[in-house]
Symmetry: C2
Subunit: 254 residues, 2 copies
């Protein structure tokens, strides 16, 4: 569907979730099937894009350490595409409102007078908690959870403080989680505090590693895919909990 | 589908999200359509239960200040139902691993030798961020977000500390958010720190209230539905942001 430039379309910022196609919401799937164009991150999986066979697909992702498209250029593309298509989808890994640079995109669209709607997605921390069967909160153990990142964007100085919460979840936590562990140990966290690391959450190549905080402080080695690190007493395994290899079949189709 | 008692079924803990039917995941919707029985909270909406017309539906919800079913009884029902049905769904408002008492249910099922799988859901904080078009993290402003609750369960003492994060989201935050605001002001948070309160997120009766932290400290008045309170500089409105009444149509069907 094409519209004249005097009739701009609507832009939907949609959370793709962690990767598995069937962790998309019904609302997101319906809008993807209607989209004229889908601008997606590098973290969005090919199986997710199968939900919009009719749409023009444009890769606009930024990935740490890889060739990146400037945010200003993404913003401009969103505005331009809304002048060509009735339904424009900006598809973002995880949830758009959490570490998703949504603020910049919302501002750009508002300044151009283009209608926008946000559709939430399954954030990786919750998919990881489900995949590892490890609740983030637990009665008498954890009543708060922090989602944070330490990766530094241009123009930002590195954050040295770690949030003060019962359970900590560090996004994009490959190298940075090592520094987090060091800081927590220095603050008096127990060396044996359980840690769960999940790489490529919900994808066929998903990997789960369990280790104590003292070991996390020594580093994680090389990780290829997106890594999430969960730290806290709530990460302790239950007495009869299934080993990670046995739980939740992966990459199942809807 | 009924199985003999020697062949127990599988239990799926599924996140229902905040209420709107189309915020269910594709995976959750598929499993709901296969379920022999669905044990659901009081917070699960009637429209969500339309996704499982074939299933026996059992209300097992606990709601603050209302008649509650003891957790031990819910656990026993889950085990009993898994001996009668191949697919048992435990449907929980929001996400099962966040303030969902999943730990108790997982333990009970593991002790009974029953297979279990967790399907994540859209947690209310992310649906609220989407509905209000208010990102929880923002470059240069907020790089961490805490989800917490102060409601006290039997056997727990009241938590007095508030998590230390850039953005704070208090679940079940009606009365308790007033105390949170008082503590934050005492810690030196700015009186004008923006606060967004969302009641009945994603439902037809959704209400959004914006106020400064100093006003939150005076209380919110009576709230009928589930209330979520989001606090922090990331909650500031953008210059050209649409008024809340104009954004995101509610209770749309898939």
């Amino acid at each position: 569907m094409n519209h004249s430039t005097s009739l701009p379309g609507k832009v939907y910022l949609i959370g793709a979730g962690p990767g598995a196609q069937d962790l998309m919401t019904l609302r997101g799937a319906r809008l993807l099937a209607q989209a004229g164009v889908v601008l997606h991150d590098a973290l969005v999986t090919p199986e997710m894009l199968e939900l919009c066979p009719q749409a023009v697909k444009i890769l606009v992702g930024k990935r740490c350490g890889q060739l990146s498209t400037a945010q200003a250029f993404i913003n401009k593309q969103l505005v331009d595409q809304a002048r060509k298509h009735a339904v424009v989808v900006r598809l973002k890994g995880g949830d758009p409102m959490l570490f998703g640079r949504a603020d910049e995109e919302l501002r750009a669209l508002e300044e151009a007078g283009i209608a926008v709607e946000v559709v939430p997605g399954i954030t990786t921390a919750l998919a990881a908690a489900a995949a590892t069967q490890q609740p983030l909160t637990k009665r008498g153990v954890s009543r708060s959870v922090a989602f944070f990142t330490s990766s530094t964007a241009p123009g930002e100085t590195e954050q040295t403080a770690v949030p003060d919460c019962d359970t900590l979840v560090q996004y994009m936590g490959g190298r940075e989680a090592m520094a987090t562990a060091g800081r927590l140990l220095a603050q008096g966290w127990r060396a044996g505090t359980p840690v769960v690391v999940i790489e490529n959450c919900s994808r066929p190549e998903q990997r789960i590693v369990r280790l104590p905080l003292s070991q996390l402080a020594l580093g994680l080695g090389d990780k290829q895919g997106p890594v999430l690190v969960m730290i806290g007493e709530a990460m302790a395994m239950r007495m009869q909990q299934a080993p990670d290899a046995l739980i939740a079949p992966l990459a199942r189709r809807a």
